[in-house]
Each structure stands twice: as C-alpha cells, then as structure tokens.
C-alpha cells in the first residue's frame, strides 16, 4: 500500500506457485514475465483479472499467474473469454494461446470478437509449430518447412496473423518478442489499456522443434522497431503494408491503434439494457413474454 492509500502491485504479485513445465530455453518463459510486468503496471488486483487459454504449450500460461485462469478447450479461448466478459464486464479479461490454437482450430472465432469489438486482449505465442504434440506443421509454418507431417516440405502458404486481424478491423494490433522483454511488457500493457479488442502476436521460439532461424539469435537478426522506422500507428494502411513482411522481418511494436476507438460490445449492451429496462418485466413475470395474449 502506498502513502496515498492505493495498492501498488509488483510483477511477483501475479506469479503463481506453479512451476512452468516448458522446455528450458522456451520463449514463453519471457512472455509470462512480460505479462507479470504489464499487469503490475496496470495495477489491477489479481482477483479482478480473468485469463483464458486454449490448448498447447503456451496455453498453460494462465496457471502461472495468480489471476483467475481457465485452461479451456482447443481453439475456444476467445468464445469463453467473451462469455466471461459479458457476464462480468468489470473483469479485465485476457486470452492467450498458440498459433495453432488461434489460427487453425480457433481461427473462426477471431473475426467475431473483432467485429463485436469485445474489450479483450488476445496474446498469441506464435512459434510456427505444434510443439506440445511433437512438431507438426502449424498454420503459421513457412512454406517448404520439413516436419514430421511434411517430410518433403510443406506445400502450404502460412497464415499471416497480423494481416488477418488487421483485415477484420481490429482496433489494436501489435507484435513483440522475447528479444526485447521491456518492449514486450510495454506493448502488452498498451494492448490491455486499449478500450476494445487488442491483439498481440508474440514471436516466441520453440527450442525443441523450432528452426535455427526462429531462435532468439535469428529473431534478433531480423528485428526492427516500428517506432524506430517512424511508423505512425494511427495509419491502418501503412500498418497493413508493414504487416506483409511477416515471416521475413520481425517488426516490433504497435502496427495499428485506432485513434478513435468505437464503443465496445459491452458499452452497446449496457446502452441497450438501459433503453429496454423501462419496459422490462419484473423477474416473477418474465415468462409472460412467452405467453400468447
């Protein structure tokens, strides 16, 4: 408690007693540190935060925080996060998962959270492989990639997560990497503060099944700060232009932040509730709605 009577949280306040079981050297160790730091900067109490994930290595992340967590169903982190946010709009809701969880089995959900502008921050730990199941092609694996499910090289083009969410109209789109933890924490913090759907793609290396070029050293070699390039995050078309370099360059920072965020779905629901509440029936007469007069 500070002298002004407000609570001040430290990153350790968001760290649970569970020990991560990721492979030593995994990029996700840095990601969880970035999340602790971002949450400390936001300053919400752990019990005011709900953290939902899908299935995969990275989806273990809610368990390593002191927030309420739900390691849910493969690809279904977003619908569950949406339900939580609608049921309790005061909660800070985070969703997380891997590239397979988010852009393959769960790929259909992203568009709908974006068009509704749900006030949720979605963090994808993108390692271009299904690591937990021992190295199969994922939706972001590069064309030609040799894995146990593509012995002669992948014939498919990868999904570009940045263009994907920008095209659907996400209000906040950013990319980060464990090559710059301070920048990653700041980016996650900014995403959480954005009033609406915010997406952060984190290039998080898989040390066991990832290729050499995708490890920290390789990522550092292709990293470029968007702020350093003079990119204006209010310019959506410039963001889309830069996002096309996904896979060749690692642009770090905010691609797009809507300078005039539209109302969130939660705001619209509140508005509608206020409008209809005048004519609303008392609870004991609610079934009258279904009785023909």
């Amino acid at each position: 408690m500070s002298a002004t009577g407000t609570c001040e949280y430290q990153p350790k306040d968001y760290k649970s007693d569970l020990k991560p079981i990721w492979c030593p050297g995994c990029g996700d160790f840095s990601v969880v540190q970035g999340i602790y730091r971002a949450l400390a900067a936001i300053g919400r109490a752990p019990h005011e935060i709900a953290f939902v994930s899908g299935i995969g290595c990275s989806s273990r992340i809610p368990g390593y925080t002191t927030a309420y967590g739900f390691n849910s169903v493969h690809g279904r982190a977003l619908p569950i996060a949406q339900g939580i946010k609608l049921a309790n709009p005061d909660l800070l809701v985070l969703a997380a998962g891997g590239d397979g969880d988010g852009f393959s089995i769960g790929g259909g959900h992203i568009a709908h959270l974006i068009r509704r502008n749900m006030d949720i921050t979605y963090i994808v730990m993108d390692n271009q492989i299904y690591g937990l199941t021992k190295g199969q092609l994922s939706p972001t694996s590069q064309k030609g990639r040799v894995t146990c499910t593509s012995r002669f090289g992948s014939l498919e083009n990868p999904v570009n997560p940045l263009l994907y969410v920008l095209a659907y109209g996400a209000g906040f789109v950013a990319q980060a990497s464990p090559t710059d933890l301070v920048g990653m924490a700041a980016t996650i913090e900014e995403a959480i503060r954005y009033p609406g759907f915010a997406f952060v793609n984190i290039q998080s290396p898989c040390v066991t099944y990832g290729e050499e070029a995708q490890q920290i050293k390789g990522l550092k070699a292709i990293s470029e700060s968007l702020a350093g390039l003079g990119h204006n995050p209010a310019d959506r078309l410039a963001a889309m232009d830069l996002a096309q370099h996904y896979g060749e360059k690692l642009h770090l920072g905010v691609f797009y932040r809507n300078p005039e965020p539209p109302p969130t779905y939660g705001d619209l629901v509140k508005e509608r509730q206020a409008l209809l509440s005048k004519d609303a029936l008392p609870k004991e007469r609610i079934l009258d709605l279904f009785i023909k007069k």
Binding site: P24, K134, P178, V207
Partner: protein, 174 residues
C-alpha cells in the same frame, strides 16, 4: 539486459543500493527457476550448479541489504523490479534440457560478463561520487564472480567434445 525509467545522472546512493539489491534478487530468482527447470528435465548436475549460484546471489544480496539498512534504515524503496531486466540474471534462452555442467557454468559466466559490462557502461553517466564508487565496486566484484565461476569450470574433467544435442533423440512422429 535493459533498464527502464532510470536517470543515472540523478541516481542517489540509496536508489543505487536498492537497484544493486534488485539486480542480485533477479539473478537469484532466475537461477532458482533454472534449477527447477533442470530438476524437472532430469538434469541434476546443472541443477546443482544453478543452486550454488542461487546461494552466491543470495549472499551478495544480503551483504548489500545490510549496507542499505546501516545507511538508510527502512526508508521506502523508490525503485522497483520493473525498472531492470536481465542485468546479472542469465537469459532464459541460455537454459537447455540435458545441458552439461560445463554449459551451465558457461551460461553463468556469460551473465557475470554481462553484469560487468552493465556497471562499466553506467559509470560515465553517474554524477554522485558515492554512487560512482559503489558502481565501480560492483563492477570489480563481477570480475571476482567471473573468477569464482572459472574456478568451478577448471574443476571439471576435460570436455568430451560431444554436444548436448548428441544425446537428444530426434523428434519422432506420434
């Protein structure tokens, strides 16, 4: 390694001592994490060495804390862990399942080199004479720490020339 929101030119002795304590605290915590990772991945020799580093970092932290209390008692800390990252703590990327004790020690040595470089680089920006003296002392201590790790490395039998990767099975389809 990185720092956020610290103006070295205005750094007071109390803040400098607190930062030094936080640097040791971060390194201790990271070595604890590494030891736990090695236990989990059946790499006991590396775990043992990382625990040795935990004790070392804790010892340095205690020494600095005692100096801080002696000089500034329980005055509230004005700096926090969010301001520092990876100053003396080994990079997360330095750990590997089945890493040899040699690799573990090399990771620790690289961290001590990194910490030395940090204090060395900060020195020209420091204006306060006492803070300058403290950072110079901490920089020199990093050389001592390097010597300690090198001594541990020297106790190891000669390297077999095999890589840790030689003992890891190829990924197999399920």
């Amino acid at each position: 390694m990185a720092m956020r929101g610290i103006d070295f030119a205005k750094l007071s002795l109390m803040d400098a001592l607190d930062l030094a304590i936080l640097v040791e605290d971060e390194a201790q915590e990271r070595y604890e994490e590494f030891a736990a990772q090695m236990d989990l991945h059946r790499t006991p020799d590396a775990a043992k060495f990382f625990r040795y580093m935990v004790e070392n970092e804790a010892k340095h932290g205690r020494e600095l804390s005692a100096r801080r209390v002696q000089r500034f008692q329980d005055a509230p800390m004005a700096v926090s862990r969010t301001m520092i990252y990876d100053i003396e703590a080994p990079d997360y990327d330095a750990a590997r399942a089945f890493m040899s004790p040699r690799k573990a020690m090399e990771a620790a040595l690289a961290s001590e080199v990194k910490a030395h470089a940090f204090f060395e680089a900060a020195l020209p920006s420091l204006k306060d004479a006492e803070v300058h003296a403290l950072f110079a002392e901490l920089r020199d201590e990093e050389i001592l720490h390097q010597t300690l790790v090198k001594a541990e490395l020297a106790k190891l039998p000669p390297d077999s020339g095999l890589s840790d990767e030689d003992f890891v099975d190829e990924p197999a389809p399920q």
